[in-house]
């Protein structure tokens, strides 16, 4: 596995932390105007093209994570 500088991982951690913090703010109803992630996805999925785009994103993610570069286990 390639070794990367720690700062690279830290940036990812901060970005994911920001997503969770924003979702937490939305769920707490403190601001009252921040939509939750679910509300955002509901807004996108109201229309067919939004559903197709999200499904394509999900498919792309699954293809990259589970299938890309994968070989059948018994194949030499």
């Amino acid at each position: 596995m390639a070794s990367h500088p720690v700062i690279g991982y830290l940036v990812w951690a901060v970005l994911f932390g920001a997503v969770f913090a924003w979702e937490g703010l939305a769920l707490s109803h403190l601001s009252g105007t921040v939509p939750t992630l679910s509300a955002t996805f509901r807004a996108i999925m109201r229309y067919p093209f939004g559903r197709w785009a999200l499904f394509a994103l999900w498919l792309w993610f699954g293809w990259h994570i589970f299938l890309r570069g994968w070989h059948f286990l018994l194949r030499s």
């Binding site: 996108i44 229309y47 067919p48 499904f55 498919l59 589970f66 299938l67 890309r68």
Partner: protein, 145 residues
């Protein structure tokens, strides 16, 4: 920054970002737009309104869910394949049977996930129906005490 890096990394990421944000923006704009009167609708919407409605049994329950699932899966698959083919021929000829893997791999994912999703939906619905039936029986049963 080298031109190959711009072509193979920067352009796809920026294009993906623009596509995603564009979809979000259009969705937001459509959801906040006031409803238009029938005469002001574009020709396509008027034609759609004139189309004969689907049979009643296709508009509820399982047929509706299956229709919705199939439309989403086929639409999403075709959209992703369009993007993948455009990326392959327009941006970078990725080695290692990239197109074959995308076409067959994504079809395999759909083939695996949709039946499982349908089965899980059927089991959930069956459990909910049994709970409703049991509650109905309890309500209508004569009080023994």
């Amino acid at each position: 920054m080298s031109s190959s890096l711009i072509r193979s990394d920067l352009i796809p990421i920026v294009s993906g970002y623009v596509l995603l944000m564009g979809t979000l923006a259009i969705g937001l704009w459509l959801s906040r737009r006031p409803p238009r009167p029938d005469w002001a609708k574009p020709g396509r919407a008027r034609r759609r309104a004139r189309l004969p409605p689907l049979p009643e049994r296709w508009q509820h329950g399982w047929p509706r869910l299956l229709r919705h699932l199939a439309a989403t899966a086929v639409g999403g698959y075709l959209l992703l394949m369009t993007i993948v083919v455009l990326y392959y021929y327009g941006v970078a000829r990725v080695a290692g049977s990239f197109l074959d893997s995308a076409i067959s791999g994504c079809a395999l994912l759909i083939g695996l996930c949709l039946p499982i999703f349908a089965a899980a939906s059927w089991l959930t619905e069956r459990r909910a129906r049994r709970a409703r039936d049991a509650a109905d029986r309890d309500r209508h049963a004569p009080a023994d005490r």
